[in-house]
């Protein structure tokens, strides 16, 4: 198999630096092997920030998916990003333990995410009606599906690559030192696989 082209590798690095201000570990591990995949992740995550979901809803969904897949890396990076997007420390701790956030709005978004994942999208009329009564529309469901797409990609990569947490995450996001991470997904070497 030919090595990834230097041009594509450098393109991913430039995209990451422009979007994140640095090259996160997940981008480093993917870019070495398949720059196209690194570029999808960066471009699509940026695009989802411009979606219809509110910032805190989007991050709550991402944490719920990452908890579902037991992703140690996304649980922590999106704890930091989720806090910056308006999630409370308590909500982040709760979602990452498989529990629920406090507000009804975020609770509904997280429960919709888990329902879609648990039923592989086979929501029946009753599910849809109950979600709709709680303010979860097709827009929410379809953007949740798009986030499931992107987090499946990153969660699975992190399982295989055992991606290390980015150095300096605590300095960039001081809240990380205050968050209780007990009961969160652990890196693969600490988990029975």
């Amino acid at each position: 198999m030919p090595a990834p082209s230097e041009t594509e590798y450098n393109r991913s690095v430039a995209m990451a630096e422009a979007y994140y201000g640095l090259v996160p570990e997940i981008i480093k591990v993917v870019n070495k092997e398949n720059p196209a995949v690194a570029q999808i992740y960066i471009a699509a995550m940026e695009l989802m920030e411009d979606g219809e979901l509110a910032d805190d809803e989007r991050e709550a969904v991402i944490l719920a998916i990452s908890r579902y897949n037991d992703c140690h890396y996304c649980a922590r990076t999106h704890a930091a990003l989720g806090y910056a997007a308006g999630l409370s420390k308590e909500d982040i701790e709760a979602i990452n333990r498989g529990h629920l956030p406090e507000s009804e709005r975020l609770k509904a978004v997280v429960q919709a995410t888990r329902l879609i994942l648990d039923k592989s999208g086979w929501l029946d009329e009753e599910d849809l009606s109950q979600l709709n009564d709680r303010g979860i529309t097709r827009m929410h469901l379809y953007e949740i599906n798009a986030l499931i797409s992107l987090k499946t990609l990153s969660n699975y990569i992190n399982h295989v690559a055992q991606t290390k947490i980015d150095e300096g995450l605590d300095q960039l996001f001081p809240i990380m030192a205050e968050i209780n991470q007990e009961g969160w997904a652990e890196a693969p070497d600490k988990t029975n696989v």
């Binding site: 092997e33 995949v37 999808i40 592989s120 929501l123 029946d124 379809y142 699975y156 295989v160 696989v193």
Partner: protein, 191 residues
């Protein structure tokens, strides 16, 4: 990166696929983000590490795994167009082994990724590597897995139609990939 308008999605889809896919039409009525994500991924993976044939074999396995008739029809057509023999496409749709060792290894890697959510043991990774499935291949499989979860789950929710040019192939699918009578939740949280 700004989210495109539905008109821009329609124009790009028409240029790329020659039609507006049902998935784009359905989601685009509510939000253009899913279609835009799909288009980004589709374009980027033209420069992926898997060949067109390999990509389509992986995508058929993902359609089969997620029980998505829409995706099965679309990717059966694209596999045929990419040069995968009709008999091989039939085997892939039915989850049967195929003669091509490389395709078979990729299909098994895809299935295992889905079943285990990519929690491979070191031995499984070693075995895949020995069969020629490298990290770059796996990462591309994961990208396709995400994309097909998005289209399959959306199709399960809304049951949008297969595009008109694909309906003859849809008919030939027979009763494959029907909705389960009583889909159960697989994994429950306290929430």
């Amino acid at each position: 990166m700004e989210k495109p308008s539905i008109a821009e999605i329609r124009e790009e889809a028409q240029e790329k696929f020659g039609l507006m896919p049902g998935f784009f039409e359905e989601t685009g009525s509510y939000t253009t983000a899913p279609a835009a994500v799909y288009l980004i991924a589709d374009e980027a993976l033209l420069k992926g590490v898997l060949t067109r044939r390999e990509q389509q074999a992986v995508l058929i396995e993902l359609a089969r795994y997620h029980n998505s008739r829409y995706d099965a029809v679309v990717h059966a057509r694209m596999a045929l167009d990419a040069g995968v023999p009709a008999q091989t496409v039939g085997h892939l749709l039915d989850g049967e082994a195929v003669d091509d060792d490389r395709l078979q290894a990729l299909v098994e890697a895809t299935r295992l990724s889905c079943e285990r959510r990519a929690w491979f043991s070191p031995n499984e990774l070693k075995e895949l590597r020995q069969r020629g499935v490298q990290r770059g291949d796996l990462y591309e499989i994961f990208a396709f897995t995400g994309m097909k979860k998005m289209t399959a789950f959306t199709h399960h929710i809304s049951d949008f139609s297969v595009e008109a040019p694909l309906r003859p192939l849809d008919k030939r699918m027979g009763d494959r990939f029907q909705q389960p009578a009583d889909p159960k939740r697989q994994r429950l949280f306290m929430g």
